[in-house]
Assembly symmetry: C2
Homo-oligomer: 244 residues x 2
DNA sequence: CAGTGGTCTAGACCACCGA
DNA sequence: CGGTGGTCTAGACCACTGG
């Protein structure tokens, strides 16, 4: 009961470990192996495919990372209970995103000054109330049409020269990625109606629903930046895909 | 210039490959190595840490999967240009989600019948116009408060006994995961105002912004299901985190 | 050409689980 | 206790890149 491998070593079009992965995947996605079912042990697969255990281990380990199977040391491998319908939501620099669509990105800078952090904001940054913060407000346009309102506070300790950047030539996201190495980020996506300023900056009505992403980035020991990104609901959506 | 490893083989608290990963990560997140910089070759790291090449390879390979470095065969490894601010957006069964928050999930079934697919829908399913589809409309409640409107069409070819399920006891998502093995899914998240029916079902005003997720799942050869999930903006948000 | 990463092997020791 | 997966080694051949 040995499954053929295109080549003893690796000359085949597909690496051996990929073939083992593919085999297991097919059993799962076809429903032959159902959630909770045991997956053959590494030594069993090793014999079935005639490859070394390291190779089988890599295959099954990657499937575990992908969430298709669950492994328990000492016990065995089983088909994962719930195939998580999940996917990587990539949050990219808006300039790249627009440019890759073949459109022209431009920026309108509305505000660029330092402020004293009021209580809630100071706490979010882990600073004392009244601490100095950079504050920038921009509107991003795609072929001249507003698609994102960006209201951002930046911690001077993380990016002391933030205002040296020319935001008509680079984006705050890009500047911060380059000058404050990213170590952590969190975000929240919700739906809101725009404030009067946001509606006017985005050139939409106040009753048009917007997607709002609130994003907090951490650089080393500092909370580097907190941004509120507002997208007109009619002009923007997040999309994602999930395969296998 | 040999970096210490807690143990020659692996008795230490952290596996050797994790220590190599940690070392490289620190250089990147601290800004010592900047985007575009070369990462030491596998043989260099191998000597520096006194481990085998396979171990170093695993460490750097995982960093590549995580997006921190880019590897080019024949050329070398460099620190990735843009640390993509991304994260896994997990789309989970709403029942689990609510239950895990320690709240009570319940369901109100509004519609449950078969319909003839009109043109656009038929095309999305890859079926002929007028083909039979299951159609269910539910409202999910958390501790009695509506939090999701679920309007779903299901392909009978993928789940012929869809209506055998009692949606007050299981969710369509859970039923479909169990009966139509998931092979692929795509989704779109946007902001909209609710339709009159949706507003009434969710017990909100028509002018309250909502998050809308449109999700399409594929099971084997079939488009299994297309769902429109409407969340009241004031009561729901998607959150995500991204570390390293 | 020498150096890189991609893959593979045939062993090995270990921690852990369940009987 | 035997079987499982987790990790590691010291080699090896290969495809690819660059000078």
């Amino acid at each position: 009961m040995t499954t053929k491998i295109t080549s003893g070593t690796q000359a085949g079009p597909l690496p051996a470990y990929e073939q083992v992965k593919a085999f297991v995947k097919v059993q799962i996605t076809s429903g032959t192996w159902r959630p909770g079912d045991a997956v053959p042990s590494e030594s069993a697969l090793q014999q079935q495919f005639g490859v070394s255990r390291m190779t089988v281990n890599r295959a099954v380990k990657e499937l575990a990372v992908e969430g298709l199977v669950t492994r328990v040391r000492g016990s065995g491998t089983v088909v994962a209970q719930l195939h998580r319908i999940s996917s990587t939501l990539a949050v990219r620099d808006i300039h790249d995103e627009v440019t890759e669509r073949g459109h022209l990105h431009s920026t309108r800078v509305l505000t660029q000054h330092t402020t004293a952090a009021e209580a809630a904001l100071a706490q979010a940054f882990g600073l004392a109330p009244g601490a100095e913060l950079f504050h920038s407000v921009l509107v991003h346009l795609e072929d001249g049409v507003p698609i994102q309102w960006e209201d951002r506070h930046v911690n001077p300790a993380a990016a002391p020269h933030y205002f040296d950047a020319d935001f008509t030539r680079t984006t705050p996201t890009r500047y911060l990625l380059a000058h404050a190495p990213l170590t952590e980020a969190s975000y929240r996506i919700e739906a809101c109606l725009p404030s009067p300023q946001e509606a006017s900056g985005l050139n939409i009505l106040r009753r048009e629903a917007c997607l709002v992403m609130t994003r907090c980035t951490i650089s080393g020991p500092h909370v580097a930046s907190i941004a509120r990104l507002v997208y007109p609901g009619a002009r923007y959506s997040f999309t994602g895909k999930f395969a296998l």
